[in-house]
């Protein structure tokens, strides 16, 4: 402490110059820790603008839809009643990476947000394999611009109501609108526009092949055996876009837009714990680094630690505030613990993590960030210590029993089980029902059959499923049927229109 401390700022007020100075310092440190980022675009906005951004899924531009209005009213109501603070930041996976700072924040909060969003999230977006594979940071803004314009044009031509009918159905099917295994073609707004006409014509032509009413006498007998589609299709929106018999071209294009947006968000849904954990780990590390260099004051650190600890607060399961595991807490604890295992491994760590115990922590952390998603990250790196610290326990719910059972806790026999259950909990495949397009009665009444493959015999929730079928029916425009299948036996069936 012999060195003179020379803090960048001392008061709570921020200025553009100060933000710039902090940003430069943080960039220097990020470099030191090999955080590879997209260029940053930092935008200062007011709280009203933050609410706007909130309600259009965080995007700087988005097509219009009533559900965003609902979201907005909800946010506004809660904010004005003081029931909820606005997020301090929103960050967008784009190139440049756009981060919003709220003008109401103090200097400390702005620095925290910079570290968290512009260096933490940003490097995650750039480095994680899911984002690299599934999203195109370069073109998302362009694409949304195209989408917004296209939707507006459709509204003008066909009326808001007609567009909303389609959009409502699409939004409901959003989770069924992603390709889980195939890499989508890169987005490009310019090409989208060019190809749109071409595609329209092509679809209409191929459709006619499927639906051709001119009988092809020779094949009739054999073809009946074949299903259409030959292999089940998990991307329902894609299937409808390409095959729904009566949709207009513009309606197909709307399906496509929603599908593309859903696909863009897909990696985020799979990496919530990692992404937040990574960003939290880095704001914590970078700001401490600044403190060690004497660039920030003690007051700054107190304020920072106060909000840091409220971000990573995990209410216990029996608290009225409990609403599941806080991804910030889990992610932050895990990354911090990985660092500890590398630097200062115990015997337990050496037994559980022989590969990483004692290795270079920065190297390991980067490796973990780049090559995993929540599910595999937890399966690979959740250590007994974190389980103990968070006092994790697993509960088994079996509808055939009248009670719940604690099947594992944070003790030696339970570690593996807790870890596996927790990982499974973050597997979107388990979390969301598995529903696929199974068959179309091509020669008959065009009934579309979907199949729900039950996982652990978990049923679909009936009211929302009925509503969903109505939405699908609106797009398909012929009968729609959904069978729940368990062990190759068809269980409950849903129909729209309801059983005649």
């Amino acid at each position: 402490m012999s060195e003179e401390r020379q803090p960048i700022s001392t008061g709570p007020e921020w200025t553009f110059e100060l933000i710039q100075e902090y940003d430069q310092e943080l960039a220097r440190l990020a470099d030191k820790f090999r955080l590879d980022t997209f260029p940053n675009q930092i935008e200062v906005i007011s709280s009203e603008q933050m609410m706007d951004a909130y309600s259009s899924t965080g995007m700087p531009l988005m097509y219009s839809h009533w559900s965003f209005g609902k979201q907005f009213l909800h946010t506004q109501q809660n904010y004005e009643r003081g029931r909820m603070g606005l997020a301090y930041e929103i960050v967008i996976n784009s190139n440049p990476c756009i981060a919003y700072l709220m003008e109401e924040n103090t200097m400390t909060m702005q620095a925290l947000v910079l570290a968290h969003a512009s260096y933490g999230h940003n490097s995650f977006f750039k480095g994680n394999y899911l984002f690299q594979t599934w999203t195109d940071a370069d073109s998302i803004i362009d694409y949304l611009m195209f989408a917004k314009k296209y939707v507006a044009e459709c509204e003008e031509k066909y009326g808001v109501e007609a567009v909303e009918d389609v959009m409502d159905a699409c939004h409901a099917l959003m989770n069924q609108g992603v390709n889980r295994y195939k890499r989508p073609r890169p987005l490009s707004a310019a090409k989208e526009r060019e190809r749109q006409e071409e595609r329209a014509e092509y679809i209409q032509r191929t459709l006619n092949d499927i639906w051709s009413t001119i009988p092809k006498a020779e094949e009739i007998e054999e073809t009946k055996v074949k299903r259409f589609p030959e292999d089940p299709e998990e991307n329902i929106l894609y299937f409808l876009e390409k095959n729904a018999p009566l949709l207009e071209t513009w309606q197909r294009e709307l399906l496509r837009i929603v599908r593309k947006v859903a696909q863009y968000y897909y990696p985020q849904r799979q990496t919530q714990v990692m992404n937040e954990g990574w960003a939290t780990f880095w704001h914590y590390t970078l700001l401490h680094e600044l403190y060690d260099e004497g660039k920030v004051t003690e007051g700054f650190m107190l304020e920072f630690l106060h909000s840091h600890s409220s971000v990573i607060y995990q209410p216990p399961f029996d608290s009225p505030n409990y609403s599941g595991i806080n991804p910030y807490t889990l992610g932050f604890s895990m990354f911090t613990d990985i660092k500890r295992i590398c630097e200062d491994p115990t015997d337990e760590d050496k037994e559980w993590f022989p590969d990483i115990a004692g290795s270079d922590w920065l190297e390991t952390l980067h490796f973990a960030m780049k090559n995993f998603k929540d599910e595999s990250f937890i399966l690979q790196f959740l250590s007994p210590k974190v389980m103990r610290d968070l006092r994790l326990f697993s509960i088994f719910d079996d509808e055939t029993k009248s009670y719940l059972e604690v099947n594992a806790i944070h003790d030696d026999p339970g570690y593996k089980e807790v870890r596996e259950s927790l990982a499974a909990q973050y597997n979107l495949g388990n979390r969301e029902p598995n529903i696929q397009v199974y068959d179309v009665d091509v020669r008959g009444d065009r009934t579309l059959t979907l199949r729900h493959y039950q996982h652990e015999s978990r049923p679909l929730e009936a009211p929302s499923t009925d509503e969903l079928l109505r939405h699908i029916h609106r797009l398909w425009q012929f009968d729609v049927k959904l069978d729940s299948v368990a062990d190759d036996k068809i269980g409950k069936s849903f129909c729209c229109p309801e059983a005649k």
């Binding site: 940053n40 009213l73 015999s457």
Partner: protein, 425 residues
């Protein structure tokens, strides 16, 4: 290097469109909420916005999700006393939240209702939706003494303050082109000739060259003398007077303040008057309100006295009607004013006066007013005034309307009935 942008000055109402879409979609719900709000809230409150609550199930955005049942495991934090193998009673109410919500926010219980705020303007819009002012005829044009100035092209005469500079300069420019055209053409021709002569080696033409130069100079001088701007060029904005239909309304609040009127009844009447006032406000630029209270004699008073001072005595309704008539004749010529009269009473009137009332109304008032509405605030049987008015109602279905209010909850309904949009097919 990061770019820092100040976006605070950019528009902040990006969500307006979406908000409006949402409101349109749930119009029905909002209207219901508004009419409930009107009934419940106190009168001084009508100016503010309102909270609207919609059951969540009506605006769900469904998605495929797991229902209750089957087998699943769920990991929770904060274990205190459990060990493996413990059995716990299944919490009732079905803990469905384990299933799908990865990010449940802070509303663990799940909301049953979705509520939000609409502002005053929207509140009124919904409140008065589908209502119209009876006989909403803007006062006739020819009798109107009010005029509006309106732009009507340009003239070449006018006062300097209306000078239109752009037009004037345009016209000056045009004139200069037109008048100078001949001379310029000549200059061009002479110049060409001059060039040819200068180029030719022949020196004998020197004199002719000199001649040409002089000619050109003269022509140029002539061109220069064309005035830059002339009286003739000046153009003035032409304003004309157009008669404008009257945008003024006067509202007469007539109320019985005799002993039989309790404060409660007066409060109900007040609400009715406020509704009417707000309603008029949406349709007219300028509204005046005249308060006339009466027992056996009528008196014009200010608002405070009207609602809150107490009087005792009998009731002679015709006194107030006479006063209304006199004030109309005095100050509010039906040619200039849209006249609305709202009368509130508990139905008491002195025997024998009711027929006088109906006579004054038919002969002297109804022909001048846009609308006369009568509300009777009572839960007793109707008395002679009501019966007398009933016959009026048949005679003047367009100008005259009457309704009965029994409880505060009726007020808004009655108001709506009185001002309902009439089918004019």
């Amino acid at each position: 290097m990061s770019i820092i942008i100040d976006r605070r000055l950019n528009g902040k109402n990006k969500s307006t469109v979406n908000r409006q879409r949402f409101l349109d979609r749930y119009r029905k719900h909002i209207k219901k909420a508004v009419s409930e709000a009107v009934n419940k809230r106190s009168i001084t409150d009508v100016e503010s916005g309102s909270q609207v609550t919609i059951p969540t199930k009506d605006l769900s955005e469904p998605f495929f999700r797991h229902g209750q049942g089957g087998r699943y495991k769920q990991v929770h934090p904060g274990n205190k006393e459990f060990i493996s193998g413990d059995r716990i009673k299944r919490p009732n109410g079905g803990q469905g939240q384990g299933s799908g919500k990865g990010k449940a926010g802070n509303s663990g219980e799940g909301m049953d209702e979705f509520s939000f705020q609409i502002n005053h303007e929207e509140f009124l819009n919904h409140m008065f939706d589908d209502l119209e002012l009876p006989n909403l005829v803007r006062k006739q044009l020819q009798d109107s003494t009010e005029y509006k100035m309106k732009n009507a092209g340009y003239t070449s005469e006018g006062s300097p303050d209306r000078l239109n500079i752009v037009r004037s300069l345009k016209s000056a420019h045009a004139r200069r082109i037109a008048l100078g055209g001949g001379a310029r053409r000549e200059v061009r021709a002479l110049r060409r000739k001059l060039r040819e002569l200068e180029v030719s080696a022949d020196t004998t033409n020197m004199e002719e060259v000199e001649q040409l130069r002089i000619q050109i100079k003269e022509l140029n001088n002539k061109l220069k003398k064309l005035p830059f701007i002339d009286d003739f060029d000046l153009k003035y904005n032409n304003l004309i007077k157009v008669p404008s239909p009257s945008n003024k309304a006067v509202m007469f609040c007539v109320m019985d303040v005799s002993g039989s009127m309790t404060q409660e009844i007066k409060d109900m009447a007040k609400r009715f008057f406020i509704l009417l006032y707000l309603f008029l406000q949406r349709n007219y630029k300028e509204i005046e309100v005249v308060f006339i209270r009466h027992h056996t004699a009528a008196k014009e008073v200010d608002e405070d006295d009207f609602f809150y001072s107490r009087e005792t005595g009998g009731t002679i309704v015709s006194s107030a009607l006479e006063m209304t008539r006199d004030i109309i004749d005095d100050r509010y010529s039906p040619n200039d004013w849209n006249i609305y009269v709202a009368q509130a009473s508990d139905g008491d009137n002195w025997e024998g006066d009711s027929s006088v009332c109906s006579k004054i109304l038919t002969e002297q008032i109804l022909s001048k007013v846009q609308y006369f509405s009568y509300v009777e605030i009572t839960d007793r049987a109707h008395q002679n005034l009501w019966r007398e008015y009933e016959s009026l109602n048949e005679q003047f279905p367009d100008q005259f309307a009457m309704e009965q209010i029994k409880t505060p909850n009726d007020i808004y309904q009655v108001f709506r009935r009185l001002f309902e949009k009439k089918e004019t097919a």
